[in-house]
Symmetry: C2
Subunit: 207 residues, 2 copies
DNA sequence: TAGATTGTTAATCGATTAACAATC
DNA sequence: TAGATTGTTAATCGATTAACAATC
């Protein structure tokens, strides 16, 4: 299952989740696709189509129960289990991301920080001591690492990723400016800050 | 001009730019859409279509001159002028982004850092002293701020953005987990880390 | 029941790919 | 010139929107 759902739909799901979470905080119990459509600035039709990729979560004449829908989307997004995260490259960005992951209330758990710079060894970031990259193989024997964050210089990203794939890592959150080549079954989510900045820059021109 | 070009095309331009930059570093002088297609894993047809939204940069029987195409895409993306950047919210992420912007060789120039926390006042980040938010109005009189980076808690983002819009800021790079409502003519580029993480999480499930 | 709103099919719109004539 | 490869039109594919019957 879960097959054949377009990337466009998946990109929208976290946003639904965020809006439903806010409604929940505000004590809203039910919402129609029409109301949600107005708040989110998308068509009601799209909301109903998107949700119906995963199942019929609403009720005719009533709409959607906010708590129920929120929970269902959480399940769809895989937020019902804790994901163990290890981070590679404890520079400025790496430290910020480590802190960020730990501070978010999402079920992602920072369990290890790795770098190649001896000077960083043992430094505490977000409550965790930095380890050396060559200690990871050992670490990996006693810890299940679900996600590797790559906050490395671009030339280091690919070799490190390859090494981690060999050691069984199956998911990467990649901040390096490269397109990682990984085997089938390994997933990569990119955050390319420079490309985001360039898009902003483009939109500032003529338009 | 520049009108009517789809967001999908714009999203791909920075990636072309990156690949062309690498070719340039490797001393490659010319490339055909076919070769580039293979490297980038997109169709040659798409490359030609994308580029021809902006003009005919190639030559039949030859392909594209790498340096020329690189420069043209740079122009399209607005990378021929320096953009002054001010950042709001000097937390972990804010500091990392400040450092990031300064370290990138792209033409974005960090000129001010603002926070509301008195304890941060005067602290030097990326070579710039942190100022208090209420000093911005003054600062803005003597400096041209092209882009405001928002690395603030979500509840602070909207009020601060509104204030900045009133003071003439026309572009936002938004890291807060909110959809900013801004007047027409003001551009917003979002980096929603939590949504990126959730997409990764989704792709780790069934698929 | 009558009114509201979903789930779903059909229609439209836009983006991607294929094909090929133009041309270097 | 012959070969290569673009620019561009046409065909296909996919995603979004509209419409409405089903149903709570």
């Amino acid at each position: 299952m879960n097959k054949g759902i377009s990337k466009a739909v998946i990109r929208r799901m976290p946003r639904y989740y965020r809006y439903l979470g806010e409604l929940l905080e505000n004590g809203v119990e039910r919402i129609s696709s029409g109301e949600l459509s107005e708040r989110m600035q998308v068509t009601a039709s799209q909301i109903r189509q998107d949700l119906n990729n995963f199942g019929g979560f609403g009720q005719q004449g009533y709409g959607y129960n906010v708590q129920f829908l929120y929970d269902e989307i959480g399940k769809i997004l895989g937020l019902t289990e804790v994901h163990n995260v290890a981070l590679f490259g404890v520079g400025n960005l790496g430290q910020a991301i480590a802190n960020y992951v730990s501070s978010e209330k999402l079920p992602f758990h920072m369990i290890g920080l790795f770098d190649v710079d001896e000077k960083k060894k043992g430094r505490i970031v977000s409550g965790i001591p930095v380890m050396m990259l060559d200690e990871f193989e050992d670490f990996n024997r006693t810890h299940r690492v679900d996600i590797a964050v790559l906050t490395l210089p671009k030339d280091a990203a690919m070799p490190v990723a390859e090494h981690l794939v060999d050691l069984g890592v199956r998911a990467f959150w990649n901040f390096a400016h490269v397109d990682l080549k990984v085997p089938k079954g390994v997933v990569v989510e990119n955050v390319h800050l420079s490309e985001s900045l360039m898009q902003l820059s483009y939109n500032m021109t003529g338009r």
